[in-house]
Symmetry: C2
Subunit: 220 residues, 2 copies
Amino acid sequence: LCLAKDIYKIYTMGKVEVEALRGVSLEIEANEYISIMGPSGSGKSTLMHILGCLDTPTRGEYYFEGKKVSDYTDAELARIRNRYIGFVFQNFNLLPRLSALENVALPLIYAGVKKKERLELAEMMLKKVGLAERMRHRPNELSGGECQRVAIARALVNNPKIIFADEPTGNLDTKTGSEIMEIFDRLHSEGRTIVLVTHDSNIAQHAKRVIRLIDGKIVE
Amino acid sequence: LCLAKDIYKIYTMGKVEVEALRGVSLEIEANEYISIMGPSGSGKSTLMHILGCLDTPTRGEYYFEGKKVSDYTDAELARIRNRYIGFVFQNFNLLPRLSALENVALPLIYAGVKKKERLELAEMMLKKVGLAERMRHRPNELSGGECQRVAIARALVNNPKIIFADEPTGNLDTKTGSEIMEIFDRLHSEGRTIVLVTHDSNIAQHAKRVIRLIDGKIVE
Ligand SMILES: Nc1ncnc2c1ncn2[C@@H]1O[C@H](COP(=O)(O)OP(=O)(O)OP(=O)(O)O)[C@@H](O)[C@H]1O
Ligand SMILES: Nc1ncnc2c1ncn2[C@@H]1O[C@H](COP(=O)(O)OP(=O)(O)OP(=O)(O)O)[C@@H](O)[C@H]1O
Ligand SMILES: [Mg+2]
Ligand SMILES: [Mg+2]
């Protein structure tokens, strides 16, 4: 499903080069359940963005569903991201002027879903993450963990086949966090592919495989 | 040091009232080390903002250093926040157009510190949190955990007597998280007052007292 070959991501700041990823190769099969761990700054979010077709490597190749991602047009990539990929951002990336409901419904607009059905699906997803009572709130009227759950609901609403979640429980208490993990576990048992970045070893244990990053490289 | 008497925080959204805090009373003495825990949405950040003189209650009274906070002028409050209080926000609140160094130096401008010394103090604080190599980066050029550490450094740079930290290790791996907790522990042993919100019981154990919030109320 995902094939990364010797991926480099290098940021250039004036004369300085920051190598966020330094030769990362990995393969993710359909229906895998993977956890990515590593120190702060080791390149996890950078890797997730490349795997989720949100960013391109500086060197190396990334293949999604057998095709080189750099060969897709922008329109094709946007469609792939919308239809097949659910991405939960570490900093949520919610639109501040939209309510929780409208934020969650957003991917369904692109997918061509009619308004009534969009709002029904969004409402259902918000109920799943325990936010039935907060649907009309905008992000600045929500707690940190509520924003995190809106981001999760938005990533799942289009029924994606692969879910990338960057620290999905970082702002959640243990009980709410395990309710979210139940959702991911069930999605996995239904055939989807799950890739989680986490700092929490309890969360990582839900996965079947752990990938460790240190200083931009995968370590065994 | 901090005295909250029957604090209510009620948000009005059209016809709906959201009671974020429903009669919270608590006392914090100088040099205490307190952890606040509770489910997502239970009112922790709301309470922290009131304790840190960043927000006012809808009902009830809050006293800081023996004086009713609602009696201070805006200028007096700004000075108190700048001189005595260090606040680490759950969502960091960094200025996007400033570098990490400039973000950390910001409270020192208000305190009247000269430029050369500001940058030296800011640099020293960034080194303490392990970000010596990232001082020139702006927030969008930093990882989640790096942003979190910039927010921590900024809260500490003015040598505050009380530190409010809202989920200070949520985006940090275990090792980096314990390095940050060592900083808080040492500040406490030097006489400062520490109030931490955390979802992590390992982190909460550094404190000497745990306050639990559920649905806007303190529970025993
Ligand atoms: N736009 C950028 N320009 C320069 N450096 C960057 C940029 N984005 C990220 N970096 C650097 O790349 C490194 C990897 O960043 P990344 O966000 O992938 O880390 P991470 O493993 O997700 O960390 P965390 O656990 O703290 O979220 C970091 O050291 C960061 O400072
Ligand atoms: N401006 C606002 N308008 C309406 N409701 C709000 C507003 N700000 C916060 N709330 C609500 O108040 C409640 C308490 O919010 P708060 O941020 O204090 O929770 P918290 O305990 O910090 O949660 P978390 O652990 O998720 O960060 C939440 O349910 C939230 O939806
Ligand atoms: Mg990250
Ligand atoms: Mg909070």
